[in-house]
Amino acid sequence: MTRAARWALGAWLALLVACGLVVARTPFTTDLSAFLPRSPSPVQELLVEQLRDGVASRLMLIGIEGAPPERLAEASKRLAAALRASGVFASVNNGEEAGFETDREVLWRYRYLLSPAVRPERFSAQGLHASLTELLGQLASSAGVLVQRMASADPSGELLSLAERLAPQARPRTQAGVWFSKDGARALLVAQTLAPASDIDAQQRALSLVRTAFAEAAAGGEAKLVVTGPAVFSVASREHVREDAWRLSLIGSVLIAGLLIALYRSPRVLGLGLLPVASGALAGIAAVSLAFGSVHGITIAFGVTLIGEAVDYAIYLFTQNAPGAAPESTFARIWPTLRLGMLTSICGFSAMLLSNFTGLAQLGLFSTAGLLVAAAVTRWILPSLVPRGFSVAAVAALVPGTLAAVRAAPRLRGALLVVLATAVVFLVARPQPLWSSSLASVNPVSAAEQALDRQLREDVGAPDVSYLVVIGAPDQEAALQASERAAAALREGVSRGWLQGFDHPAAYLPSLATQRARQQALPPAEVLRANLQAAQKGLPFRPAAFEPFVRDVAAAAELPLLERSSLQGTSLGLRLDALLVRRGSGWAAMLPLRGVGDADAIAARLADLPGVTLLDLKRQFDELYRGYLREAVLHSLLGAAAIALLLFLALRSPRRVLDVAAPLAAAALATCGVLALGGVQLSIFHLIGLVLVVAVGSNYSLFFDRQAPASQERGRTVVSVLFAALTTVIGFGLLATSKVPVLSAIGTTVGLGAAMALAFSAIMSRQDAHAA
């Protein structure tokens, strides 16, 4: 070992130790927010924030199915009781009245401060007479039993009208005392965790609590549990990522190691071949940790892809080493090509570095740092560690066949042209746009889970909100007052048919000003008694029948105003928490709209209210995504241009740049064609995949392009490229099977693209120049 080699070895070991130290302190995250855009506008910030931590994001929708209704109901009641007792949930609702008793108490106590019907004229002799006449009719009616008990204290029926107004619009049907889906096949529970959705560990604990509590509640029965909700998605995605990262890395490593051991027939060389990858991965994690402060799970999972790319370097070195040649001299020969290939890859990866998706930027940095270190290890460390006189014997046997195949390949040029032409025609002629412009296309949640979520939401009557009125205000009182003004405008919209309905925070907690105005509308006891007496004329009520009413009105006039804290522990309070949130130094009120028919009219009506904005959520998110897609396409084009410039600087011949670039462009085009043929609408992740195809494939076409004097040497080169491509296709092909859409999109694209880049490089290679 030379002195320089020893120095290199020492520096490498020091680097490994340093990286190891950094990695040991690195927090690993798996929450999805890394794959949400870093949003630029305050409104979008609010959206992302609500998505991550909002009360709506803490919802867990639970279904119990697969047994007779009585059994389901019983399991629902037991599960709800266990969850309520656990202290992990802010609320658990399954339709049992138990959950609403505290609501009723609050509504009863504060009915005269909550009801919008409370105005001075309602308590005049005339107003009371109208109320009492109405009451008499209700008492006679079949449903009279419902009003009878409350009538003497609440003759104007404020409680019933409040309960009706505040009841969620669509409620699940009740059967055997608990909520059921419309078809009666599934008992339903709605739970809200105390922990925010972004605390995935807490969410996971809550979820496993639901599962164990259910196992006990349904002991031995055939009932099955289904759970969905934003937090459940986060936990599931994390599980998928973990599972996939482990499973795919393991399978990938075993397959690639098996292939290489069959080739090298030396465990030591196989081990050496993994050094660049391992060092690269370690350096990648350390670099991401230093730059971002934490490393995302998907970034680690991407290590699999790095194996596909960086294992290539060792393969090139080992398989191209002719019998009897010194590894150093072999490396000196192939280094320029390899270096160019690596730089090309880095040009491609750097496009990801610029991404506005934190997760993607991490992947870019990980790959770039990993590749640099892997290449350096291959260049300066490996040659001195390879056993003297090592050569891959199997290569010699493979050379004739491979060369024959390569020589025959150009005959397929005609076929290639047909394939490319077909791809172009197909891409141009397809009816839907090639690129998906909807954020849903990068949803990390699988289609089956989304379908279950939709189903349960429909069952529970909690559809996804697509229009939201957002109000910003300096304090809670101002937010509530603004929300009351907006609600008045929206009520007008409802009566004009612009929308079907809406929810607003002031319905649960009227502003202090409104509550005071209602208190002032309540007459003093003696006035009320006199008015009642006048109102009862001609009606069969006993003279003192409404004394409880007089007493309650007097109490309401003196009642301390309803505060947010009084609603704590009620379902009203929970709904308020979702609609009125503290944001930075101010407050935000949110009014979700239902059944919006004329968004423009609503927006116009709200336009003159200060601080009030109407949001079309889907459009906002899609716009956000389209912006990033545009940005990503631009970055990729920049990456491609950088690659072209790099190739031109290195090869100094436009013709050779074309030779190297043409197979890559053809592979990218054909890959898009195949994906489109499979009905896939391309997302930002496919684009990233295409960039990787160009980065990885450039190695192949560069080696094909390289002038090789001896036929045997060219044969070795081609065999090395073949194996490099095989390992890449294995690594990315496995990724294609991932349940995580991001990984599967990149895997499919790169797996396909790498295979095609290899085939096309062979087909388009300039035979005559190298003919023996």
Partner: protein
């Protein structure tokens, strides 16, 4: 003395249960019925009883219609699980699953389940006792559910043969109502 009472009860119970099941079986044979009702409610807050009247229609197994004609036109239709309240004077219709309102459900089921001879459903809401027999029987229904107990102390359904002739309700607050049903001339 106590022992004798227990022995007597032990003998009396099966016979009693048999008579109840017997009555229920006979009621279950009735396919449909139609009658005129007059309901009289005596409420503590009113100084005169509140009277209403109309028609009552039953069809096996689960449909019960109560059409009030006086003092206002209003219908309550119970069909399977769905309860529909229609205020004809105002043109308002409200329909909901009967399970959503356990108290109202208990009240309507005291009539419907008796008419259809559905002892199992009756027993879900009430402790059922039969007094009398044949042409003069009385079912005493005492609510078992806590919420229902808050609304009613006892419901007495009386009849003759397979005809239900009066339904009396003793409400928890001391209010009282009696509905008498006369066969409608065909």
């Amino acid at each position: 003395m106590v022992r004798i009472a227990l022995v007597l009860m032990a003998f009396a119970l099966p016979a009693h249960a048999d008579a109840l099941e017997d009555l229920m079986l006979r009621l279950a044979q009735v396919k449909s019925a139609r009658g005129k009702f007059v309901e009289r409610k005596e409420l503590a807050m009113l100084n005169a009883p509140l009277e209403s009247s109309g028609t009552l229609v039953y069809a096996k197994p689960g449909r019960l219609e109560k059409h009030m004609l006086e003092p206002r036109r209003e219908s309550m239709i119970l069909d399977g699980d769905t309860l529909t309240l229609e205020d004809k004077d105002r043109g308002q219709v409200r329909s909901f699953a009967v399970q959503e309102n356990p108290v109202l459900w208990g009240f309507v089921e005291s009539i419907r389940s008796t008419l259809s001879g559905d002892l199992a459903t009756l027993k879900r809401f009430y402790e059922v006792r039969l007094e009398g027999a044949g042409a003069d029987w009385h079912l005493r229904l005492r609510p078992t559910d806590r919420r229902m107990q808050k609304a009613a102390k006892e419901i007495r359904v009386s009849g003759s043969g397979t005809w239900v002739s009066t339904i009396e309700i003793d409400e928890a607050g001391g209010d009282h109502s009696v509905m008498t049903i006369r066969r409608e001339a065909p």
